[in-house]
């Protein structure tokens, strides 16, 4: 139990997908202008990331490895991710049109979110079990959500600041992200993996 908790926390804080692993930066930079949208993106990603972590594990261990078809890994992973996203979208639309209205627009974006494929590949690299994979996915997603929320809060405030013209817009967002990542270095060395 403790081990799993540490795994979750470790992936969320210490090896944060965005700030340490450098995955999922496009949505991190693109969809963090407003807190509400950041939250939506975070939630949608959490859902998809956890699901795909499990699904790719199954595909890897039930299909690719037994058939010795590692060269199809990227392709199948991507297809699986796209399918999961598609499925999620349809499921949400069916279950709750309201939720679909708020989260739906983020779903297509997630297909091209490196964090999803990256996490799947990291799971493989670290030889995680199915449960570990699911936790790893959830942890990554939590880390993603946490950081994108913090970042959106900061950006909302910076949007009201008197930023010099040369730095306005993307540069200040990048610098803020850098400083946030500097702050997250404080978690480094915590005894979690």
């Amino acid at each position: 139990m403790k081990e799993y908790l540490l795994l979750l926390l470790g992936t969320a804080l210490v090896n944060n997908v965005i700030l340490v692993r450098f995955l999922g930066l496009c949505p991190f930079l693109g969809v963090s202008g407003k807190l509400e949208t950041a939250l939506g993106m975070g939630l949608a990603t959490t859902f998809v990331l956890t699901l795909t972590s499990g699904a790719t594990w199954v595909v890897e261990h039930a299909l690719l490895q037994p058939l010795d078809m590692m060269h199809l890994r990227i392709l199948t992973y991507i297809l699986v991710i796209a399918a999961v996203v598609q499925f999620t979208e349809m499921a949400i639309q069916k279950a709750s049109p309201v939720l679909h209205h708020t989260l739906g627009i983020y779903l297509p974006l997630i297909t091209t979110n490196c964090a999803v494929l990256g996490t799947a590949l990291l799971n493989l690299q670290q030889d995680n079990s199915l449960i570990q994979s699911l936790l790893y996915g959830a942890g990554s997603a939590l880390g993603f959500t946490l950081v994108i929320l913090l970042f959106a809060g900061l950006r909302e405030r910076i949007a009201l600041a008197n930023v010099p013209a040369a730095f306005a817009g993307t540069p200040i967002a990048l610098i803020t992200a850098g400083l946030l990542s500097l702050a997250f270095m404080g978690f480094a060395g915590l005894p979690v993996r």
């Binding site: 913090l150 910076i158 008197n162 540069p171 270095m185 978690f187």
Partner: protein, 357 residues
């Protein structure tokens, strides 16, 4: 009769103002930092004074340059004194015998990356001095963890003025004889925690450590001034020190051999400095009492976690930055209830007419 010509562009009320203004606030902070600075310089000798001056110089020069480049009024803005405060706080968090370029570089980083790219005073979100400290720590771990044992000014061991300049500007590693470990070292090394008489040393500051963080008493004196003058809201230091102490006491109860008690956590390291001068930087702190309490408690908890389990010997700077980053969220979630409304923002229901709902 003295005449009066009305101003044609109308100005709205209020037409009188309290006495507070930004330069005065910053002056008070500098005044409050004086005891700790003086103690630091006294304990660590002339090189410490060099460090202070260099950090401030770095900040002020960087601020002037940045303002000039951005075509903003240099003199007027410098006069707010915030660059000096940043410089001094940075210096007080550096090793006392830091080489010249460390202090200078830190000052420039704090102002340029931490403050001016955001638009200057009040526009930044993360504490500039702590950003600089962390950036230096990450980049120059050697220099940033070279502690010296205190050798009071004019004592035999203390370097003279010239020798001090040589230490600051000469470069080269510190002689092994003076390098030393801080009071928090046992946290990571598992040695003995400060014994009874050492706590007195921690209070007075006669222990190795950052320039201005060692003397809890001097910091407390300055902090008390700021709290009394209402420049610093009491909730932040109270929540911060309280959380830190409670966590320390809790784990100390569980396993005293691994986890030192609250006193070491409060007095050793820069918790005091942080509680009164760093966490309280208004720019990065929430604006409501509850928000400030959450903020302070968050910093306290993070300090404890990073100190106890993390990779770095001291968690103050990271903790402050992390909570700075959370400040917009806290401010967003913790808003005061508005008059005549429920917490949700909906109007109060027309309640039965009884006094004192």
């Amino acid at each position: 009769m003295t005449t009066w010509t009305p101003n044609r562009s109308p100005v709205a009320a209020p037409h009188v103002h309290g006495r507070a203004n930004v330069p005065q606030v910053m002056r008070t902070v500098l005044l409050a930092l004086l005891p700790a600075t003086a103690t630091g310089v006294w304990l660590f000798g002339w090189p410490a004074l060099n460090t202070v001056l260099l950090a401030i110089a770095g900040c002020v020069a960087a601020e002037a340059a940045a303002l000039a480049i951005g075509r903003r009024p240099v003199g007027h803005t410098l006069a707010d004194g915030s660059a000096v405060v940043t410089g001094l706080i940075l210096a007080l968090c550096l090793p006392p015998w830091a080489p010249w370029w460390l202090a200078l570089l830190g000052g420039v980083f704090a102002i340029v990356v931490g403050k001016q790219v955001f638009g200057g005073l009040g526009q930044n979100v993360l504490n500039p001095a702590m950003l600089a400290r962390v950036a230096l720590l990450v980049s120059f771990p050697l220099e940033m963890t070279a502690w010296v044992a205190p050798q009071p000014l004019f004592s035999a061991a203390s370097p003279g003025l010239v020798e001090g300049l040589a230490i600051t500007f000469g470069g080269g590693p510190l002689p092994d004889a003076v390098s030393s470990a801080t009071a928090l070292a046992p946290l990571k090394l598992g040695g003995d925690f400060a014994a009874g008489e050492a706590l007195l040393a921690l209070a007075l500051g006669t222990v190795p450590g950052s320039l201005g963080e060692t003397s809890a008493l001097a910091l407390l004196a300055g902090g008390a001034l700021l709290v009394a003058r209402r420049i610093v809201p009491w909730q932040i230091p109270a929540a911060l020190l309280g959380t830190l102490a409670v966590l320390a006491a809790l784990f100390n109860q569980i396993d005293p051999a691994h986890y030192p008690g609250p006193l070491l956590h409060l007095l050793g390291g820069s918790a005091m400095m942080c509680a009164f001068f760093i966490a309280t930087d208004p720019v990065g702190a929430p604006v409501t009492p509850l928000g400030r309490a959450i903020f302070g408690a968050g910093i306290g908890a993070l300090i404890y976690v990073i100190r106890t389990w993390g990779g770095y010997p001291e968690g103050v700077a990271f903790a402050v930055l992390l909570m700075n980053a959370a400040t917009p969220l806290i401010d967003r979630l913790v808003r005061p209830r508005r008059y005549g409304r429920l917490r949700t923002g909906a109007p109060l229901p027309l309640a039965p007419k009884e006094d004192g709902r």
